[in-house]
């Protein structure tokens, strides 16, 4: 509690960093925004880094001396292009790049920038994306959290929805102007079959005057049973083993 209180004191909190406007050409990791899985190549690198970090911890290695780099700082456009150019050169002449990296400071690299060659650099950057992101692939705690806690990707969610759409026979007699949202919590097996299904507002089913809700809830349960095994992703079971489906027919009933 003391630690938590201390951490919340205002003088300990960091000042917000003013970032300059940026025109990014760098390939950045956006999984936390779109939930699209990592490219296989990048994923391997991340796993490798994770493994490395894990090893270091388990062996209780001495603290690594790390050059202070602002982890959240986003490089200026020129810097990014320089980095890309650097990699390009590295491929062409590994020995030369070695020297240059050692000799040229971050600011001195500006002199090497050739504006007429941006397009080529951008194209090249696609091929070299894994190497470019090598530095940033060392995932911060925040990023790791986002990966673990993220929901289904858009395509995964779409696949699941499409499957249930086909199984759900909407009772056409229901009124469109009533709040008839049925929430069903599912516990799933890794193959998508259902271990347990639970209507979250179950009490409403047996209340007088809630006949429409009961009918909708039953139709939703039928849809789930008809559809199983559900089309769930082949990975990340821990993430989706508990799933909530919200059935709302108003849009369809209103026509």
């Amino acid at each position: 509690m003391i630690i938590i209180t201390a951490m919340s004191l205002p003088f300990l909190s960091k000042k917000p960093i003013d970032l300059p406007p940026l025109v990014s050409v760098e390939l950045i990791q956006i999984s936390d925004q779109t939930n699209i899985p990592f490219a296989p190549k990048a994923k391997k690198i991340i796993e490798k880094v994770k493994e490395k970090e894990k090893k270091l911890v388990s062996e209780q290695a001495p603290p690594k001396i790390v050059k202070k780099v602002k982890p959240d700082a986003i490089p200026l456009p020129d810097e990014k292009i320089d980095k890309i150019k650097k990699i390009k050169d590295k491929k062409q002449n590994p020995e030369k790049i070695d020297n240059e990296v050692k000799q040229v400071s971050e600011f001195e690299k500006d002199e090497l920038f050739d504006p007429s060659n941006i397009a080529a650099l951008i194209d090249k950057s696609k091929v070299e994306s894994a190497e470019v992101t090598d530095k940033t692939d060392k995932i911060t705690q925040d990023q790791e959290k986002n990966i673990d806690f993220a929901g289904l990707s858009l395509s995964e969610e779409d696949a699941l929805k499409a499957q249930i759409f086909g199984c759900w026979s909407i009772p056409l007699g229901l009124p469109y102007d009533q709040n008839l949202l049925v929430r069903i919590k599912l516990q799933l097996k890794p193959d998508g079959s259902i271990i347990r299904s639970e209507i979250l507002d179950h009490a409403r089913m047996n209340k007088p005057g809630q006949g429409f809700y009961k009918v909708l809830a039953e139709s939703a349960l039928r849809a789930i049973k008809l559809c199983q095994p559900l089309r769930v992703p082949s990975t990340g079971y821990e993430k989706w083993k508990d799933l909530q489906l919200n059935f709302d027919a108003r849009e369809m009933l209103e026509g």
């Binding site: 673990d148 806690f149 929901g151 929805k161 199984c167 026979s169 102007d177 006949g211 009918v215 909530q244």
Partner: protein, 446 residues
């Protein structure tokens, strides 16, 4: 002390949990629900007895056929072909093998049993949720054997209500004007039938012209208009007893008498001093009350189900449009603003919609709109059609449609049609003669 340490440890321990993933399902298929209607099983003795009484080979199959037909006509269910059934009716009634019914894609199953007990027909039926493997409803009815079709309708109502959440409309009747003869010399009789077209009966002989029969929403009384010596008369007819009485003679053009929701009043329009307005008549004391007083033509009044409002059509804004007012005639508001002419407004028994006939660019439409005039939807279009009447659950409309005659004046016909609120399930209602002016009764069994 130890407790405090444990509490601190609990607070500081990193807790790793996953947020529950939520997926919104906002679409589904609107195809009718696949349902298996197993023939009602019957023992050999009862079967032989029913052959003698009803002249029907297998009354169990006949009742299930009524149920199946009703469900199909509703457009909400798809009764599966009986040839595909894997389990026999008598065994299915005891304990359905859900895997077998699942295999033929049935989501619901109806089973049952028919017996003859003390010269009476006893029908048991069960509705099963095939996917959940559980019974949804189980009921038994006892009645005179001649009522077997009604038992089929009542079973359908129960199944419909259990699976859709709203009351059914199958154990009902339709009263209409049966028409025969050439268009210029039509004989019009009052006729009544079950909603599926069976048990048709003529109630008048056809000596007098009959028009606009309307059911009382609370019982089996009917009011209608007939011309006697060229004078319009409003009649009351008790369907159960056949008793008929004249409510009154009214001057000039009189239109469409209709009951109030409590069945105690009749609302209609008639012309007094050359001006057509809306009036009510109390059926107990026969006192007539004027509701509208406007130089325009106000006709076709219809009460809201709570009796607080009246909808009617009027040409007070130059063209015929639909209006809503309080039941005392105050606070008149126009609700239709689309192109064309609007008429015959009828308030839904559910209270949410008003059905109407619309004439636009030479075509007639049957449509619905909300009671404030928004959300207008045209359900069907034709050469000539009008007079929509609601099913008691406010889900289906019945109306009549006339066909065009050829250059010789031949080929004319008038038929009853029904359409549900989706606008997709449009069906011809079979009648022995031509038919017009239908009115749907309330449920016979409440």
């Amino acid at each position: 002390m130890l407790f405090r340490y444990l509490l601190l440890l609990f607070i500081l321990l990193p807790i790793k949990s996953f947020a529950l993933i939520e997926v919104d399902i906002t679409r589904g298929n609107l195809s009718p629900l696949p349902i298996a209607v197993s023939p009602l099983s019957i023992d050999e003795k009862s079967k032989k007895d029913f052959v003698k009484i009803l002249k029907k080979e297998n009354i169990g199959s006949e009742i299930s056929a009524v149920v199946e037909n009703n469900l199909r006509q509703s457009g909400l269910f798809n009764p599966l072909n009986k040839d595909a059934f894997l389990q026999k009716a008598d065994i299915a009634n005891l304990k359905p093998r859900f895997e077998d019914w699942n295999l033929i894609k049935a989501q619901a199953l109806i089973t049952g049993k028919v017996t003859l007990v003390d010269e009476k027909l006893r029908v048991e039926f069960r509705l099963w949720d095939v996917l959940a493997g559980k019974e949804m409803i189980a009921l038994a009815f006892t009645t005179v054997p001649s009522n077997w079709r009604r038992v089929g309708h009542i079973i359908t109502d129960k199944v419909y209500e259990r699976l859709t959440g709203e009351k059914g409309y199958f154990d009902t009747r339709i009263i209409y004007v049966a028409e025969e003869g050439p268009k210029t010399k039509r004989i019009k009789k009052l006729a009544i039938m079950d909603q599926d077209g069976f048990n048709n009966k003529f109630l008048t002989l056809g000596n007098e012209l009959v028009l606009t029969p309307r059911f009382n929403p609370t019982n089996q009384m009917v009011t209608y208009l007939s011309y006697f010596r060229n004078l319009p008369r409003v009649y009351l007819l008790d369907i159960e007893t056949g008793m008929q009485e004249v409510v009154g003679d009214f001057p000039g053009m009189t239109f469409a008498p209709r009951f109030s929701p409590d069945g105690k009043k009749i609302i209609m329009s008639f012309a007094k001093d050359g001006n057509s307005d809306i009036y009510t008549m109390d059926l107990e004391n026969r006192i007539v009350e004027r509701i509208t007083n406007h130089p325009s033509i106000d006709t076709s009044p219809s009460y809201s189900p709570d009796g607080k409002y009246i909808t009617f059509n009027s040409d007070r804004s130059k063209y015929q449009q639909i209006y809503v007012m309080n039941s005392n005639g105050k606070n008149v508001k126009r609700i239709s603003f689309g192109n064309g002419l609007y008429g015959t407004p009828v308030w839904s028994p559910r209270g949410d919609l008003i059905a109407f006939t619309k004439l636009h660019k030479g075509k007639f439409y049957i449509g619905v709109m909300r009671t404030d005039g928004t959300g207008e939807r045209l359900l069907t279009e034709n050469f000539y059609q009008e007079a929509p009447s609601w099913s008691p659950n406010g889900r289906v409309l019945i109306f009549y449609r006339e066909t065009k005659t050829n250059s010789k004046g031949e080929g004319f016909s008038a038929k009853l049609w029904s359409i549900d609120l989706t606008g997709y399930n449009e069906r011809l209602v079979e009648t022995k003669t031509d038919a017009s002016d239908p009115s749907w009764s309330s449920l016979l069994s409440k």
